[in-house]
Amino acid sequence: MISPGSVSSAVAPHPDIIRIRSVVKTFAGTQALKGVNLDIRPGEIHALCGGNGSGKSTLIKILSGVYQADEGGTISVGERSVAAHEMKPSAAVELGVRTVHQDLAVFPDLTVAENFGLGGGFKTDRFGRIAWREQRNIAQRLIDEFEIPTTPNTTLNKLSLAERTQVAIARALRGSEGNPSLLILDEPTAALPVREVDQLLTSLRRLAQAGQAILYVSHRLDEVLALSDTISILRDGSLVETKPATGYTEASLVEAMLGRAIEQALPHTPHTVGTEPTVQITKLTSGPLSSINLQAYPGEIVGIAGLMGSGRSRVLRTLFGLEHVEAGEIRFKGKPISFTRPDQAMSAGIAMVPENRIQDANFPDLSIEENITVTVLGRYFRRLRMATSAARGEASALSRSFKVKASSVRAPMTSLSGGNQQKVIMARWMQRKPTLLLLDEPTQGVDAGARADIYALVRAATAAGASAIVVASDFEELAQVADRVLVLRRGRIVAELTGGQITAHRLTELSMSEGNERP
C-alpha cells in the first residue's frame, strides 16, 4: 500500500474514500502530471483549482478514462481499485467514477425518460420492444431521488440549463446506487445564466449531504469558495496543497494557483504610438458585450484578457463585420463604420485570425500556396488568367520569411504541424499589410518557437504603423506581448492595465474574481 500523503493523514479514514495515488502522465517528453495524490471523502464537495496548463484537465481525463496515465499509479473507490494506466471509460464507470462534462451530452429533443434510457440502457420486454411504462417509472424514481422539477415525458429543451445539468448528473450516477462513487463535474456552471447557478449549486449540496463524493472543477472562484468543503490546488502538474475551503479567500486562492514567486513584469520597450486612434469603439453593445469602450493606436498591441463567455472574441468578430452592432459606435481611422461582411472590413484594412484554426481558418484540401493567396486572389489575376508562377514565387517567399517549415508551397496544408499552419494563416493576412490586426488566440496549440515567431511578426507590423488587438487565454503571454491590456468580465471592461502593471497575476485576479472591481 502506498503511504497516504500528509494531507490525507489529517482526514479520518472512511471505508468508501476515493484515493488517487501517484498519478503521472507524460506527453511527448513533458510531464503534465508529476505524481498526484488526492483523497476525496463521501459527502464532500472537493474543488480542484489550477491555472492554464496546471494539469487539471489531464487529471480529469485520466479519472474518466479518456487518457491512460503512465504506469505506477492507482485509483481506488472504496474497496475497488484500478491501475491508473489501465483506465478506460468503461473501467471508470465500473469503478464508480462518473463524469459530467460541460457540454452535458444530453439530447434536447428527447424526453427525460429517453435521455435516461440512452445513458443507461433501455428496459425491453421479451419481444425486444422498449418497456416504456417501466422506463418511465425508472425515470420518475430518478427525478424524485434527485429532486428535479420535471416529469419523465417532458422534452429536455423545455427545461432550464440547470435542470438539464441535473438530468445529466442523475443519468451519470444511475446504476451506482449502493456503491461508493465519485461524481466529477467539469465546469458545470460555465454555460449557465447567473440566476440558474444557485439552483444547480443547491442541488449539488443536497447530493453531497446524501453522501455523494463530488470533485468539482470550476474557474469561478466565488462559486468554488461558496460551494466546496475542501479545495485542492494543482500547479505545473503537482498537487500544491489541499485545505478546507474556509481557509481561503479569492486572493489567497489566486496566490496559491500562480505560485508564490512574484512575477517580474517584463520591461516593455516603449513603442512609438500615434495620436490618432486606428480604431475607436464607443459604448458598444453586442450580444454579451455591454457598453464597451476601446481605442487602439498605431504602433500598439492591445490585449484583451477575459474568461470564456466574457465576450472577448465578440469584440474582434464585431470589428470584422461578423456580428451585429446593437448600440454604440465604431470609428475606424476617424470614420464611423458598420460592416456587415468580412470583405468590407478587409477592404478597409482589417485582418482577423480566428480562434479556431481547424474550423474557421484552414483550407485542409488546398495547398499551402492556395491557403496563402486566398486573401489576395485578385492580385494574381493578370492577362485573364491566374499568374500561377508569380503566386507560387510570392507564396514561397512569404513562407520562407514567415519561417514555415514545409518541403514546398505546393504541399497540402494538412502536411504541416499546427504551428506552421498558423504561420501560413498569419502570412495570408500580413501580405495585405493591414492597418488593424485582430488576433484571437493566435498561439493556441502552437509550440514555443512558433509562438515567438508569430509575435515577432505582429510586432513588426505594429512597428510599421499598424495596430493589433490580441485575445489570449495565456495571461503570461499577454503580459509579455501587450502594451496595454483590457480585462473583460461578463461583457464589461473592468480594468485597463498598462506597461509594468500588466502581470499574469493581476490579469488572472481581475478576470476571475468578482467583487473588488477597480477602474
Partner: protein, 360 residues
C-alpha cells in the same frame, strides 16, 4: 508500389526516373481508357464493329451531351454542393428549344435562347433554395430534378416533339469538323471554358476554398452565398447547353431524354475525381470518365452483352470510383499524418488548454 512508403519516397522518385505509383494515381483513368480501346480493337468479336468510323463518331457525338451534363455537375461540386437537377435542366432546355422551334414555329436562334433561358430560370430556383435559404443541396436539387421531370411530362403529354424541327438543325450535329463530330468539339469548347473558370480565375479559387472549408472561406472575405449562387447559375448554363445539343442530336425532344443522363453523368464525375487531380472534382478527369464508361458499355455490347449491362456498368463504376477516391484519400492522409508526427516539434500544450478560457 513506390508511393506507399511515405513522403520521402516521392523525393527519391525524381532521382530514379518515372514514379510509377504517381503516374498511376494521376493517369490511371486515361490509361484504363486506352487499354479498353486497344482491347476492343484487338478482340476479334468486337473489333470490326468497334473500330468502324460510324461507331467512333457515334460514341464521340453521343457522349458529348453526357459530358456537358457531367461538367455542369462538377462546378457546384467543387464548392461542395451537389446539383442533381442538371440532367432535368438539360431536359427542360431540350423540350423548351424543341417546342419553341417546332410547336411555335420560331427561328432556331430564338429556340436556343428560349431553351437556355428556361434552364437559367431553373438555375435561379436552385440558387435561391441552396444559397439563399441554405437548404441541403442534395435534397433540394433532388426535389427540383423530380419536379422538373414531372413538369416536362405534363407539358409534353408524354409525347416526343419532332414536328417542325428543321432538318438543317439535326444535320449540323451530324457533320464533322476536322474529322471529328461537331458535338464533340462543342464538348471540348465547354470543357476548356469550365477548366479555365475553375483553374485560372479567382472565381474558381473561391469555389475551391468554399468546397474545402465554407466557414474559413467566409472569414477570408469570400461572399459565400453569392459565390455558391453563381456556381449554380453556371451549372444551369452548361446543363442548358447540353439540353440544346440534345435537341440538335435527336432532332426534337423527349420528355425523359434529359433526365436519363443523371446517372451516367454522376458516374463520370466521380470517376473523374480519381484522376488528373486525384481527390478533387476536375474537368479533364470528368471528360475521361465519360468516355471510359461509354467505351466500356459500347465494347461490351459488341462482345454480346445485353442492354442491362449499361446500368450495371454505370452503377459499378460509380461505386468503384467513390471507393477508390475515398481509399486513396484516406491513405494519403495517413501518410501525411505519419510524416507530420515524425518531424513535428513538441507542441506547446499537448494537454489541451484548461477550460479557464476557450470558446464563447
Amino acid at each position: 508500389m513506390t508511393n506507399s512508403s511515405g513522403l520521402s519516397s516521392s523525393r527519391h522518385q525524381n532521382k530514379t526516373g518515372i514514379p510509377v505509383g504517381r503516374v498511376l494515381e494521376y493517369a490511371g483513368l486515361p490509361i484504363a481508357l486506352v487499354l479498353l480501346v486497344v482491347w476492343f480493337r484487338l478482340d476479334s468479336d468486337s473489333s470490326t464493329a468497334f473500330r468502324s468510323s460510324a461507331n467512333i463518331t457515334n460514341i464521340l457525338a453521343n457522349q458529348s451531351v453526357t459530358g456537358i451534363v457531367a461538367l455542369a455537375m462538377v462546378i457546384p461540386l467543387v464548392c461542395g454542393y451537389f446539383d442533381l437537377s442538371v440532367a432535368a435542366i438539360a431536359g427542360l432546355a431540350n423540350v423548351a428549344t424543341a417546342a419553341v422551334i417546332g410547336t411555335h414555329g420560331q427561328s432556331v436562334l430564338v429556340g436556343i435562347l428560349a431553351g437556355i433561358g428556361c434552364g437559367l430560370v431553373a438555375g435561379l430556383v436552385n440558387a435561391f433554395l441552396v444559397a439563399g435559404l441554405k437548404l441541403n443541396g442534395f435534397i433540394a436539387t433532388l426535389g427540383t430534378f423530380t419536379l422538373l421531370g414531372g413538369l416536362l411530362q405534363w407539358y409534353t403529354g408524354g409525347q416526343t416533339i419532332t414536328n417542325g424541327i428543321p432538318r438543317s438543325l439535326s444535320a449540323w450535329g451530324m457533320q464533322n469538323f476536322l474529322g471529328l463530330p461537331r458535338p464533340f468539339w462543342l464538348l471540348i469548347v465547354v470543357a476548356i471554358v469550365a477548366w479555365y473558370l475553375l483553374a485560372h480565375t479567382p472565381l474558381g479559387r473561391k469555389f475551391e476554398a468554399i468546397g474545402s472549408n465554407e466557414s474559413a472561406a467566409r472569414l477570408v472575405g469570400i461572399r459565400v452565398e453569392r459565390t455558391v449562387a453563381i456556381a449554380f447559375m453556371l451549372s444551369a448554363t452548361l446543363a442548358s447547353i447540353a439540353g440544346v445539343l440534345l435537341t440538335v442530336r435527336t432532332g426534337g425532344a423527349n420528355p425523359t431524354g434529359g433526365t436519363s443522363y443523371l446517372f451516367p453523368a454522376l458516374a463520370a464525375v466521380f470517376l473523374g475525381a480519381t484522376a488528373i487531380r486525384p481527390g478533387r472534382y476536375n474537368v479533364w478527369g470528368t471528360v475521361f470518365g465519360v468516355f471510359l464508361v461509354a467505351v466500356a458499355v459500347n465494347g461490351f455490347t459488341f462482345l454480346g452483352a445485353e442492354a442491362w449491362v449499361n446500368n450495371v456498368f454505370n452503377g459499378a463504376a460509380l461505386v468503384l470510383a467513390v471507393m477508390i477516391s475515398t481509399l486513396v484519400g484516406r491513405h494519403n492522409e495517413a501518410k501525411l499524418k505519419a510524416a507530420v508526427q515524425h518531424d513535428a516539434p513538441a507542441p506547446k500544450d499537448l494537454p489541451e488548454p484548461d477550460p479557464i478560457d476557450t470558446h464563447q
